[in-house]
């Protein structure tokens, strides 16, 4: 069983402490919904795990069959809230380039068109420059390359908010489909989305991480419990 273990992670900007000894263990096969209020530090947490920001304290590691090791580049996929893709390439060229340089790590042997179909990208869009893609389409491309690389940990920052209802539904199915092979952490501040998709709800509040157990509460009581936890003063 693979786990992502965060231990006493600390991060501050000037005097503002964003992460205060945040600790948590994420397991493979589950989708975690990371809930937090605006500015709680969800993106900061992701940036730290992705090593875009350096930690001021604490550590994180992967534990596989009881032995822990440092995280490498190939372990992490990160889908940003605002998708960025090289706009001068077509979707097909971007995928070719991506598959070319990552071929040693890619496990599934699909053709480019198979990947496009997997992501439900229409044939007529595949050879367009990505500068002409819509926001949602760019987001799809970003998600797709991260799925192709098949990293152990997939961090998704507000991924479904830019999709229309039909695509959002497709993406939800897709994430559920791939969850058994990954540790999926999904940040959002839309509670319905989190409840609908995620197996576990984790909240980031006052710099610490805390799991909110569902127990045998019904949906409404569970929502109240989450909101109550988010409102809690430090």
């Amino acid at each position: 069983m693979m786990k992502l273990i965060l231990k006493d992670m600390e991060k501050h900007f000037d005097k503002k402490e964003v992460l205060k000894k945040a600790s948590f263990t994420f397991e493979k096969g589950k989708i975690y919904g990371l809930l937090g209020r605006n500015g709680a530090g969800k993106t900061t947490l992701f940036n730290c795990i992705n090593e875009d920001l350096s930690l001021d304290g604490g550590s994180f590691s992967i534990e596989e069959d009881g032995t822990s090791r440092a995280i490498t580049s190939q372990d992490i996929g990160y889908v940003l809230a605002t998708p960025v893709v090289p706009e001068f390439l077509t979707g097909r060229e971007f995928l070719k380039f991506f598959i070319d340089i990552n071929q040693n790590y890619i496990r599934q042997n699909k053709s480019i068109d198979e990947w496009f179909s997997f992501m439900k990208i229409d044939p007529e869009d595949r050879d367009k420059l990505m500068k002409d893609y819509s926001h949602g389409m760019k987001n799809k491309m970003q998600l797709l390359v991260n799925i192709i690389a098949s990293p152990a940990i997939l961090l998704l920052d507000e991924p479904l908010t830019s999709f229309d209802v039909v695509v959002a539904d497709e993406m939800k199915r897709l994430l559920k489909e791939i969850k058994q092979d990954h540790i999926l952490i999904f940040s959002t501040h839309i509670m319905e989305l989190a409840l609908d998709l995620c197996d576990e709800i984790v909240i980031l509040n006052h710099g610490t991480l805390q799991e909110i157990p569902k127990d045998d509460l019904d949906q409404d009581d569970f929502k109240d419990r989450i909101i109550h936890a988010l409102k809690e003063e430090a």
Binding site: D14, K15, N50, D52, S73, I76, G77, Y78, L80, V84, V85, P86, E87, F88, L89, T90, E93, K96, F97, F98, D100, I101, N102, D127, L129, K131, V145, A149
Partner: protein, 522 residues
């Protein structure tokens, strides 16, 4: 109205002071000393405000002295004919074209956007109070400069007084005319976003201002005496029209769009420029390479125009200059001697020339805005191996582009040298081109290394690195100082080649060592 003016001052002052503290906090050592608390420290902010106000006040007057000094006094001295007549001619032409071109009311600015759009200040009050302030401060700051410099040029005191009066009256007249036109047609003629209009005006002003005296034609002094009362007469109804107009809201709606503001905030200018280039992307080119070479190849092919256009332009200019000099030395012994001496003793000049023809800045900017900006968000792209592979192919690209104009020089200079009388030292013919190639390669490496080590942009494509700006300024200054250096070409070229080789090796070592850590979004 006074209240509105005061409020708008406060808004732009707050912006300026916060930006000042923000920039201080970005500097290496100061960032440790200055805490974010500075933003709310009243006493401190009052201190900075006083400092900024004093600076503005002095700058206001200094600018006018510089204007009259550099734009009129200096050229008037060098142009043929009578010094003071030339001066009056230039000032008159510039006052008229300046009044037609520089209207303030129609310019888009951050301050206007913040006040009128974001803070919902009444557009009419804002426009009138700011325009009044603009004209009054213009008059007050112009008068001392006009009198002092006029005294040196020995022109009648009356004309010194007429200069600011004419300027203000002409501005009022033109502004009212443009506003009337806007009311009737809904179209704008002037304003900072009308680039073509502005440049036509500037070029015409230069052409008539300096060109006519060069042909020994100057406007008579008496025109000042005629035009000033004329414009004062037209200024009266103009002022009344401006005061009673109700189209300021409509006007601001038109000029204060987010796009024009983005364009006029200098840090975003580059972004708009690059965005403009994107529309030229063509789908019909492709590549049969693989991996990073594939990416780089398509990048180069799709952005060929953007990457090479300025190098090609330079080649044309250099060719014209070279051919021009060739013709000159073939027909004139005197010119041949000058050229020969220039090449033999003033070769250090070429450090600065090669610095100027280096396209590194434009190319790295294009790389960031069109490729790295998005690709750096992907972790695989930041792997040491990836960064170094791409650095290599980009370095090749950069060197190739810079060698286009450099090779013209490398072959042109020895040719000029030979035809202008030659030299006893045959080594010069070999070392000259090698030194030029070496410098060209050096500047290519220099710009790319700076970009990779100090990657100065953030995800919003704003330049965020004072270190990068500093490094560029220092480079400029050093290259500029070479102009003053006098050294025998043989010695200088040898040292240059040696330096370029050592620097390049050192820079490449730094890249391999540090770029994987430094090449990321700010």
């Amino acid at each position: 109205m006074i209240h509105t003016l005061f409020t708008s001052f406060q808004i732009s002052l707050s912006y300026e002071i916060n930006a000042f503290i923000y920039r201080l906090r970005k500097l290496p050592i100061l960032k440790k000393i200055i805490s974010a608390d500075w933003y709310k420290n009243r006493a401190l902010k009052n201190g900075i405000t006083a400092f900024v106000l004093l600076f503005h006040f002095l700058a206001l007057f200094a600018k006018k002295f510089l204007y009259f000094g550099i734009m009129a006094l200096l050229p008037a001295q060098y142009l043929p004919g009578n010094f003071s007549s030339n001066y009056i001619h230039i000032v008159l032409i510039f006052a008229l074209f300046g009044a037609a071109m520089n209207t303030e009311l129609f310019d888009a600015s951050k301050e206007k956007y913040y006040s009128v759009v974001l803070m919902r200040v009444n557009p009419r009050d804002f426009a009138l109070s700011n325009y009044a302030y603009y004209l009054i401060s213009l008059f007050v700051s112009m008068l001392p400069a006009s009198l002092v410099i006029g005294y040196f040029v020995k022109i009648p005191v009356l004309i010194c007084f007429l200069i600011p009066i004419l300027t203000v009256a002409a501005k009022l007249t033109f502004t009212a005319a443009y506003l009337l036109y806007f009311e009737k047609t809904g179209k704008l003629i002037a304003g900072s976003s009308h680039v073509k209009f502005v440049w036509t005006m500037i070029l015409s002003a230069l052409l008539f201002g300096y060109g006519l005296p060069a042909l020994s034609i100057v406007l008579p002094e008496i025109l000042f005496g005629l035009l000033t009362p004329l414009f004062v007469i037209t200024a009266v109804p103009s002022l009344s029209f401006l005061l009673h107009s109700h189209s300021y809201q409509k006007l601001y709606k038109m000029i204060l769009t987010l796009n024009t503001i983005l364009f006029h905030v200098s840090e975003n200018a580059a972004k708009s420029q690059q965005n403009g280039m994107q529309s030229h992307l063509k789908l019909d080119v492709t590549s049969n390479k693989n991996g990073y070479e594939y990416l780089n190849d398509i990048f180069l092919k799709r952005h060929k125009r953007l990457l090479t256009v300025s190098a090609i332009r330079l080649c044309v200019i250099l060719s014209v200059l070279l051919v021009g000099s060739l013709i000159l030395i073939l027909f004139s012994h005197q010119a041949a001697d000058v050229v020969n001496e220039f090449i033999m003793t003033l070769f250090p000049y070429f450090v600065f020339i090669l610095y100027l023809i280096n396209r590194g800045g434009v190319i790295t900017q294009a790389m960031f805005f069109n490729c790295d900006h998005s690709m750096l968000a992907y972790r695989f792209y930041r792997q040491p191996k990836a960064i170094l592979r791409l650095f290599q192919s980009r370095l090749r690209l950069m060197i190739q582009i810079n060698l286009m104009p450099a090779s013209l020089l490398a072959f042109g200079l020895p040719l000029l040298l030979a035809l202008s009388g030659g030299t006893n030292e045959w080594m010069n013919y070999i070392l000259l081109p090698i030194a030029i190639f070496a410098m060209s390669v050096f500047f290519s490496i220099h710009s790319l290394v700076l970009y990779y080590l100090l990657q100065p942009y953030n995800i919003n494509m704003e330049q965020k690195s004072p270190a990068y700006a500093l490094a560029n300024t220092v480079t400029y200054l050093i290259c500029y100082l070479f102009i003053r250096l006098r050294a025998p070409t043989l010695l200088f070229t040898s040292l240059t080649i040696l330096f370029c080789v050592i620097f390049s090796i050192l820079a490449l070592y730094l890249i391999y060592r540090y770029a994987p850590k430094t090449f990321r979004l700010k």
